[in-house]
């Protein structure tokens, strides 16, 4: 039984890293949003499995929140924003796919080396989870760095956030309060970003941050 618990958790966390890689090479926004929904779905499954493995009922609630908000609500809302902005077909990466994927592999290797060495005394399940979680966080940052579009950066940030949730559920005894507050902070961030995006769009006719830079008042 223990072997199955461990293997499944390993599989799901590894799946999260895999979906993070998939996000790296989505150059269209609608495809990126689909992948993000998949990312959140895998996260929800992983959290649910952790709830089962740790026999912690409140983690089911966490998993449900992750599924409802991150896999359903946020992608739907973002998709509507993208469509209303009319940028769902745009291609908007800065760095080419090849170098990005190579960098992502390097990051995963780095997080494995660091985490497995640092957490030598921890339980094996938590160790693997933390190593994968760090990979997801780093890949999320990489997504943010390689996108030029504000929506792409938001998605990168939220996948980074998924990595944090993975790390938190991997460790035993995370209180639900944290998860609820995190979910709501993401929701609020989404609303704020949505409003800001529309405002920016009204003003400047674009959400390309590269274009926005030209309108800053503090140029030297």
């Amino acid at each position: 039984m223990h072997g199955l618990v461990f293997d499944t958790a390993h599989l799901l966390a590894g799946g999260l890293v895999l979906v993070s890689f998939m996000m790296l090479y989505q150059d269209r926004l609608s495809a990126l949003l689909n992948t993000f929904a998949l990312h959140a779905l895998v996260l929800a499954l992983s959290v649910a499995w952790q709830a089962h493995a740790q026999d912690a009922a409140h983690l089911y609630v966490t998993a449900a929140i992750a599924f409802l908000f991150k896999a359903l609500l946020i992608p739907v809302v973002l998709r509507r924003i993208v469509q209303r902005l009319g940028i769902h077909r745009q291609i908007e990466t800065v760095v080419g796919i090849g170098p990005t994927m190579l960098a992502g592999m390097g990051l995963v290797a780095l997080s494995m080396v660091v985490m497995l060495r640092v957490t030598a005394e921890a339980a094996p399940l938590a160790r693997e989870d933390l190593a994968f979680a760090l990979s997801v966080v780093l890949l999320g940052l990489l997504v943010m760095v390689t996108r030029r579009n504000a929506v792409g950066q938001v998605v990168g940030f939220m996948s980074l956030e998924n990595g944090l949730v993975l790390a938190a559920t991997g460790a035993k005894g995370m209180p639900l309060v944290v998860e609820i507050s995190v979910a709501f902070s993401i929701l609020i961030a989404l609303i704020v970003i949505g409003i800001v995006l529309f405002r920016i769009r009204e003003r400047f006719d674009t959400v390309d941050v590269h274009v926005l830079d030209r309108h800053r008042g503090e140029q030297p």
Binding site: L110, V113, V114, L138, L141, L142, V145, Q153, P220
Partner: protein
């Protein structure tokens, strides 16, 4: 429980400060704040005196549920803390008394709320028994005093003084923070009890001592980290200058004593070399700087630097003797240093009160525009004279006793086993003697030019005597200076529990000696009797006065004053501060300050006046601070373009920083 009483007084002071913000800044509100500060300081003083003199009671401690959650705010009053609490609250009470009489303060709302907060913070530093509380109170003390320095922020140079002070205070706290971090170790035992229990390795102990010398030393005014002090102390209102110079520097000395003698455990002998060398250099350079100043308050501030040097010499000697197991000599040196702490807080506060009275009466700090004040302000003049005599270390006043005790400790140095100390200590003794002589010259100049002679400006001519509160504060401290000078045995015996706690031995009880003499080592070596000297001076002076009045001719002779062959000369022909300092400037200043004189002599036929200009350079500023400032300015210019990156660049920078740190971790662990 003295600690509870003092803490209640601190709470009262903080409350007074908060009320002062709300209560407005009319004269009555100011008076109420100073009155409350006076009462609370006196109460804390009484509690501290009880704690110091009642040796049987032992330390009293308490923990408040503030600060770090697992640590709390720990407070403790032992003999050392009690002595410094006495010093702090004595100065605080006198400054509050002086404050009661202040009229015409241009910005009372910038002074009144911070004054009680400053007093409270200084009490808290001394009370603290864990590193967090100590550093917090230390920063509170720095900030409150900074706010007071900036009270008159529109005056010339005050903003710069505040800026330099803020930078140096942050630097000092950084050094202290690192020192306490090293002391607490990796486990984070921040309570002083934990730190005492953990014995640091010699390397860590040496590092901690160096950091504390930098951190506490910059607050105390040790050369070369003294630069803020002569700028900031005079910039504050005078009673605050008295507190900063007389009391806050003592709190800084407390920081060094607490760490070096208490927390670090057994000292190594080479520590004393560092402290002694710093003390000697500070003493001589401080008084040389003071001699070159013609601004009364700035002169006093530089002179504080000299006195801190003398205190450090005493502390260094105590460290040396303690490291070599010479308990009695260590007790003597430590007692001398702490005695000088008390003395300096008395006479420096007194002199700053006097300078404040002169400033209030004339609006002038420049000595070259004063003079003849002894006729307009006779009571102030007498009190300041007592302070000048005391600070010049002349018997029978208190300054002599503590410097004499320090010299007695220096005379014990041939018994030290290390050759380095055997050579260094007599050299430091020479520096101490030199600085004492120069201090006397400095105060002859300050007193003579300010109070004697004829007024050099209309403001000095129309000066009025200080108000009764200022006079009361000065009279009280002048009386205490005299009392500590003629009854030094009282103070020495009061300091015995401190010496016992810190170096394991105490000086022999002095109050039992016949005729109230003090005998630091043994009857055969040396003894001093302040009462006898005082009685002799009083007696011979009265006899001289009697003889003159009895036998001198009663025929009154009237002659022009200061008529040195120039009848009806203007006051500008008097001896000035600059001319008084000139011989010393030529002998010592040429090397130390690169002093150069330029004479601009017009050719015959040109009616333009000849000019003599003196050019002084501060080599410490030019050599240390100016290059640092240039480097910081250069780096700031280079880094400026980081202000103007795009969002994605910033994200990339954060990302790269994170990856780099992870790489370091991966390669290192």
């Amino acid at each position: 429980m003295p600690v509870v009483v003092v803490l209640s007084c601190v709470a009262g002071l903080v409350g007074t400060g908060c009320v002062a913000i709300a209560a407005g800044h009319g004269p009555r509100a100011c008076r109420a704040v100073y009155g409350a500060s006076l009462v609370l300081s006196l109460a804390a003083l009484a509690a501290a005196l009880v704690a110091l003199l009642d040796g049987a009671a032992g330390p009293s401690a308490t923990v408040l549920p503030l600060g770090l959650p697992w640590l709390g705010a720990q407070f403790r009053v032992d003999a050392l803390a009690a002595f410094f609490l006495v010093t702090v609250n004595l100065g605080g009470a006198a400054a509050s008394l002086y404050g009661l009489g202040i009229t015409g303060e241009p910005a009372p709302h910038r002074v009144v709320p911070f004054f009680p907060a400053f007093l409270a913070a200084m009490n808290l530093v001394v009370l603290a028994d864990d590193a967090f509380t100590f550093l917090f109170s230390w920063e509170l003390m720095s900030l409150a005093s900074w706010a007071l320095v900036m009270a008159h922020h529109r005056e010339h140079d005050n903003a710069r003084a505040g800026y330099v002070y803020l930078v140096m205070a942050s630097f000092g706290t950084l050094a202290l923070l690192l020192a306490f971090g090293l002391l607490a170790g990796a486990d984070g035992g921040y309570g002083f009890a934990d730190i005492r229990a953990a014995a640091p390795t010699p390397l860590v102990a040496g590092l901690v001592l160096g950091l504390v010398l930098l951190g506490a030393g910059s607050k105390a005014g040790i050369v070369p980290v003294h630069v803020w002090l002569p700028l900031a102390h005079p910039a504050a209102p005078s009673h605050v200058s008295a507190l900063m110079s007389g009391v806050m520097t003592k709190v800084a000395v407390y920081g060094l004593v607490r760490v070096a003698f208490d927390l670090l455990g057994e000292p190594a002998w080479w520590w004393s070399m560092v402290v002694l060398a710093l003390g000697g250099a500070t003493a001589v350079l401080g008084v040389l700087y003071a001699l070159m100043q013609h601004d009364l308050k700035r002169l006093l501030a530089y002179h504080t630097v000299e006195n801190i040097g003398i205190i450090y010499i005493g502390l260094g000697l105590a460290l040396a003797f303690k490291a070599d197991g010479m308990g009695l000599a260590a007790a003597l040196a430590l007692t001398a240093a702490l005695f000088h702490v008390l003395n300096h807080s008395l006479f420096k506060s007194l002199l700053f009160f006097g300078a404040g009275a002169v400033l209030a009466a004339t609006g002038e700090r420049d000595m070259e525009r004063l003079g003849g004040l002894i006729r307009r302000m006779p009571l102030t003049a007498v009190a300041v004279l007592v302070g000048c005599v005391a600070i010049s270390a002349l018997p029978p006043l208190n300054g002599f006793v503590s410097e004499w005790l320090t010299l007695q400790a220096i005379l014990q140095s041939p018994q030290l086993p290390q050759w380095g100390l055997k050579i260094l200590v007599p050299a430091v003794g020479g520096l101490l003697a030199l600085s004492a002589a120069l201090a006397a010259a400095c105060f002859v100049k300050a007193y003579g030019v300010t109070f004697l002679g004829r007024p050099r400006s209309p403001q000095a001519e129309t000066a009025r005597e200080a108000d009764r509160f200022a006079l009361a504060a000065m009279a009280a401290f002048a009386g205490l200076c005299l009392l500590a000078g003629i009854l030094p045995g009282l103070v020495i015996d009061g300091l015995a529990p401190v010496a016992q706690a810190l170096v394991g031995q105490r000086m022999a009880p002095q109050l039992g000696q016949p005729w109230l003499s003090i005998v630091p080592i043994g009857e055969s070596q040396s003894s001093y009797n302040g009462l006898l000297v005082f009685a002799f001076i009083a007696l011979s002076a009265s006899m001289a006065i009697y003889a003159i009045h009895r036998w001198a001719s009663r025929a009154a002779r009237r002659a022009p004053a200061w008529d040195c062959g120039f009848p009806e000369a203007s006051p500008a022909t008097q001896y000035t501060a600059g001319s008084f300092a000139q011989p010393i400037r030529r002998v010592l200043g040429t090397g130390v300050f690169r002093a150069r004189e330029h004479v601009d002599m017009p050719p015959p036929g040109d009616p333009r006046p000849a000019r003599l200009t003196v050019d002084l350079r501060d080599l410490i500023w030019d050599g240390i601070y100016a290059p640092i400032a240039r480097a910081v300015g250069f780096a700031a210019d280079r880094l400026n373009h980081l202000q103007f990156l795009t969002i994605r660049r910033y994200l990339t920078l954060v990302f790269l920083a994170l990856v780099t740190l992870l790489l370091v971790l991966a390669l290192w662990v």
